[in-house]
């Protein structure tokens, strides 16, 4: 039955679609793809040039064209002298901690909302969901004032907590979607065996939530890794900056050598790109899961 249907469809596509329309569509898609790949090309070539090549202007040569001479030494210089390695480690610590806190908080809340029957679970869930519409700008001032009063400016914790709070609503949404699909009989069987709520959560539910953990982690990563506003306000010392804040600072400073800065950009972006190429399907799916269920 199924095969018959799909054969039918193919016949129709062959018959219906006109050749030149398909050619036009392909050309449009190709041009759009090139535009979207251009930043990568630009960044890599920028990283391989020296100052005269970057600053001298010619449309198809430098600064936007390919380098006339390749300066691989930029990478060495960027890594050994530039603070980019520090930014990198800071970013990993901050994003990593945010992922752990957000995922755990969302999982626990989701368990209480979807798997325990009580009167206000629906309303509590709705209140949490308001968090999706609240912009970071809403709380940046009071949080900043409190953080500076507690002398926590320039500490990772000062951005980890706000990041976690602002990723929470979406994480909860994703977790709810997954948790609701786990059959209730599992919990009941565990209760009959004498497990308490905590035990059920940690030994029955959590192990089944691996796909949800991956999805929330990826979504939270996308939220925090490139965040600039909070990072550049709360982390002002070079020692503590994340990649976006640090790179913004690098470009703002009046450097004489642009090549190594270009190389820093590549070093900063490369892990995301590699990660994306390896897991693109998964990343796309989690991204969709996050937004569609809203």
């Amino acid at each position: 039955m199924a095969t018959k249907k799909s054969v039918n469809l193919e016949q129709y596509q062959v018959r219906k679609s006109k050749g030149w329309v398909n050619v036009l569509i392909s050309i449009f898609l190709a041009i759009w793809a090139i535009i979207n790949l251009f930043p990568l090309y630009w960044m890599f070539t920028f990283a391989l040039k020296d100052n005269p090549q970057i600053l001298h202007t010619n449309m198809f040569g430098p600064p936007d064209g390919p380098p006339s001479k390749w300066f691989w030494s930029n990478f060495k210089e960027a890594w050994s002298t530039g603070p980019i390695d520090k930014f990198f480690i800071n970013s990993i610590i901050i994003t990593g901690s945010t992922i752990v806190i957000t995922t755990l908080a969302a999982m626990m809340a989701s368990y209480a909302i979807t798997r325990i029957k009580w009167r206000f679970s629906e309303s509590v869930n709705r209140i949490f969901m308001l968090g999706i519409t609240i912009p970071m700008q809403a709380s940046i001032i009071p949080v900043y004032l409190v953080v500076s009063k507690l002398h926590l400016i320039n500490t990772p914790i000062s951005v980890i907590i706000p990041y976690s709070a602002f990723s929470l609503a979406m994480a909860l949404l994703i977790c709810n979607g997954f948790m609701i699909q786990i059959p209730k009989e599992l919990d009941e069987a565990a209760y009959i065996d004498g497990c308490g709520r905590g035990r059920v959560f940690f030994s029955v539910i959590l192990p089944l939530m691996k796909p949800a953990v991956a999805t929330t982690a990826i979504y939270t990563f996308l939220q925090c890794w490139n965040e600039l506003m909070i990072a550049s306000t709360f982390l002002t010392g070079e020692k503590y900056m994340t990649l976006p804040a640090g790179m913004a600072q690098l470009f703002g400073s009046h450097t004489t050598e642009w090549g190594p800065i270009g190389a820093s950009l590549v070093i900063a972006t490369l892990p995301t790109i590699v990660f994306y190429i390896l897991f693109s399907r998964r990343i796309q799916d989690s991204f969709i899961a996050g937004a569609v269920k809203g």
Binding site: I113, Y191, F201, P244, L265, I273, Y276, Q284
Partner: protein, 296 residues
């Protein structure tokens, strides 16, 4: 089973981490912003109550760019809904038909979302530089004649050109974002439905228009809400491309907010900006939701 009292405590304990984050970073600061917006506060010393003075100052164009900044954000929202989203929808529909290299195009088009805005901003600064690609291209096609000056795409000189130079990358970067959302919607249309329409003699375009788009209403609503609230909150690319929080031509509510907060340290006025921003976000989220509901 367990007694009710015991359950109440368990529920509370499970919700506790989320409640701490939610109340501590969202609810309490929101209330505090609201209260602060009626005071003059420099970050130290006493808070002086000033009633609606902060709001009055916001709407005084001699003092801040808040009013134009809201207009700018709304223009961006309009462009986003009527230019960016149709483009995203078109891409999603094309890719959803099962074109060759579907996954490749999907991945490549989403790529700009992942690249740091700092990198994207630097790239577009070079593209719009007075000696950059855009001017070189205009010269090549003869729009800029011999002896004519290059166009200053990035100058904050009252011509308003800077705003649109910033909008181009802002709109471009997130086309892939909305494309991916909508692609999910396209793919969720049951294959049987498509096939049935095709067997009845519908062309690809007719299937898209009469079958796929109507079933994507929920996703389009999400996209529109994200596009509008995203435009209201926009900050990063403007910050990088305008290079100055006191920018006039490309002022957006967030640059005004950051100007009052980090440069002038007038937390009362800054709070007033954030209150206005929250109200605008909620207003549009609710209105858009209602508009989509009415069309049911």
């Amino acid at each position: 089973m367990k007694s009710k009292k015991y359950d109440g405590l368990t529920i509370f304990l499970f919700l506790l981490p989320a409640i701490i984050l939610f109340v501590g970073i969202l609810v309490a600061p929101l209330i505090s912003s609201f209260v602060n917006s009626f005071f003059e506060y420099k970050g130290f010393g006493a808070k002086t109550p000033v009633q609606f003075d902060n709001y009055r100052r916001l709407f005084d164009t001699n003092e801040t760019w808040f009013k134009p900044s809201v207009v700018h954000a709304l223009i961006l929202a309009g462009l986003s809904v009527f230019v960016q989203l149709p483009l995203s929808l078109g891409l999603a529909l094309l890719l959803g038909r099962g074109i060759k290299g579907e996954r490749f195009f999907l991945s490549v088009n989403f790529l700009p979302v992942l690249i740091s805005t700092v990198v994207i901003g630097q790239l577009w600064l070079k593209v719009f530089d007075s000696n950059g690609m855009v001017n070189a291209l205009l010269r090549m096609v003869g729009y800029l004649k011999e002896g004519e000056d290059n166009i200053q795409w990035l100058a904050d000189n009252g011509s308003g050109i800077l705003l649109y130079s910033c909008f181009v990358p802002m709109l471009w970067q997130y086309v892939g974002y909305h494309m991916l959302l909508m692609y999910a919607g396209v793919k969720s249309v049951p294959t049987e439905l498509r096939e049935a329409a095709k067997i009845d003699g519908a062309t690809d375009w007719q299937v898209d228009w009469h079958v796929v788009i109507p079933s994507m209403k929920q996703i389009i609503k999400v996209s529109v809400i994200f596009a509008v609230t995203g435009s209201l909150k926009s900050y990063d690319l403007i910050r990088i491309m305008a290079m100055d929080l006191k920018v006039k031509d490309a002022a957006v509510p967030s640059t005004v907010l950051m100007d009052f907060m980090s440069l002038r340290q007038e937390y009362g006025v800054a709070s007033a900006v954030s209150v206005m921003l929250i109200l605008l976000c909620f207003f549009f989220a609710i209105t858009i939701g209602a508009v989509f509901k009415e069309r049911d």
